[in-house]
């Protein structure tokens, strides 16, 4: 299992600080939830972990994100390799403009992961997200034709098909209906032990249901992080206590 750590990470948007001196170790094989109010920097932190932040050209990053001890912001680091090893499931389900099959096959194709066994690979990943039975007779149909919940599961299959070591989830159930959200949550739970999962969530209850480890952010700063039981039962910082009591945020 790979280790992921953040050291003194600062991020600025248009000169405004969005992350201030964040340092943390994400426990391997566990689910870490980052919680906090809107604009606290939790999505910024998440997207800094696979350098997706850079696609916004008004961004400046300073500090280190260590994957197995190697800084992913090092000039010698290949950014496509970083994003291959650290996958991201976005907030909104967003299929690629191609068929259901091609969506899952896209990653293995560009990375040359499937030599001759692409159909089996696609099937395995669609089965892993519980979508195979629903789509096996229309694999060539456009992915946009799926329901929103199905699309998000497809996106998870597509991300896992790249065979990442670490999975980032950016409020990945926020735009789904409650039943689909439960389905995706179940899937994330099933990934525990196989992947190091870092998820951002708005929903304190979801963090309680899923997380092994919780990080609380406030105005770009990391306020507190602790194992879930300790975090929810005995938060040490006054801001955390107020947030969990839903007095702020």
């Amino acid at each position: 299992m790979r280790s992921l750590s953040v050291r003194n990470l600062n991020v600025w948007y248009n000169g405004q600080p969005a992350l201030k001196n964040v340092s943390i170790d994400f426990p391997s094989g566990q689910i870490t939830a980052i919680i906090g109010p809107s604009g606290c920097g939790k999505s910024t932190l998440l997207k800094s972990l696979n350098r997706l932040q850079e696609t916004n050209d008004q961004t400046k990053v300073n500090g280190q994100v260590l994957l197995d001890g190697a800084n992913i912001y090092d000039a010698r680091m290949d950014v496509t390799e970083v994003r291959t090893r650290i996958g991201l499931l976005a907030q909104k389900p967003f299929p690629l403009p191609m068929s259901i099959y091609d969506n899952v096959a896209y990653g293995p194709r560009i990375h040359g992961l499937a030599k001759g066994n692409l159909p089996e690979k696609v099937q395995t990943h669609l089965q892993a997200v519980g979508l195979w039975d629903e789509v096996q007779d229309r694999l060539k149909a456009p992915a946009v034709g799926l329901s929103v919940g199905q699309q998000q599961r497809l996106c998870l299959a597509r991300t896992l098909a790249v065979e990442p070591e670490i999975l980032l989830c950016d409020e990945s159930t926020a735009s789904l209906d409650p039943i689909s959200a439960r389905g995706v949550e179940e899937l994330l739970r099933s990934l525990r032990g196989h992947y190091t999962v870092v998820m951002v969530t708005h929903d304190i209850d979801q963090a309680k249901r899923l997380a092994d480890h919780v990080v609380f952010m406030w105005l770009g700063e990391l306020v507190e992080h602790a194992p879930a039981a300790q975090f929810f039962n005995a938060p040490s910082h006054p801001l955390t206590q107020q947030y969990l009591a839903r007095e702020i945020g």
Binding site: N50, L52, T55, D57, T80, E81, R83, T84, G87, L88, A90, K92, F94, P95, L96, P97, M98, S99, Y106, G107, I110, H111, P142, A143, V144, C155, R158, T159, V162
Partner: protein
Amino acid sequence: MNRQKMRKLEETFFTWLMRFCLIGAGAILTIILWVIASRGLQGLSWEILTQPPEGSFYLGGGGGILNAIMGSLYLATGATILASFIAAPVVLFMHVYAPHSKFAHGLRLALDIMWGIPSIVYGAFGFAIMVAIGLRASLLAGILTLTLVIIPILARTYDEIVAMAPRDLRDVTLALGSTRLEYLGVLLRQTLPGLLTALLLAFGRAIGDAAAMLFTAGYTDNMPDGLLRPVASLPVAVFFQLSTPFPAVQARAYASALVLTTIILVVSLLAQWTMRRLGRHVIR
């Protein structure tokens, strides 16, 4: 009058005003098409569509405009293909490799200016170049000049379409470990129906252009017979036929215009049909 009544009156007044404009626009289009069709059908015959002109054609003699139909198709198709191979990569490069850059900003400005330049100026420019390199009026010179005329149309239209592609597409594609070139491929797939619209617009402009063709493609009564030989085109044929004093020949000008309009209509319908097929996968 109370406020409610006033609002209602406003609504009624402006709705009718807009309806009036709509009727006006529709009427103008109908009249143009009616004039072309009614006069064109008089001059239209099987002979005109299937034969090149005979010697006395412009005096009312036999033959047809097949030379101009084929010439126009060659010119417009050649220019559209050539321009797409230049414009599409330029646009995709601006969006994938140099978004929000000064370079892209300057290029857009340049394209907008190029769009506004009258095509007779392109014709004169093309002619000057031809003289300099010793190229005579020919299909090749016509295609190259038309390419210059439509590059800005194609590029700026496609540019606006690519700009409408959802930003998430970039993030999710790059998040899978794609290179920027691979993202460019996905972006092309997403915007393919839009590219087709832009191509159609450019083709319509190219096939209808007379001014740039006068000096560069020339005119001939022969069928197109080589890249380095002069070639006829429908707009120039319309011009020559309308310039004669003979009503029968003038009727053929309208027939030629009708053929030109029909070609554009057919290409539009084909493009719509293709767009629907290509658009199945597009993320909205």
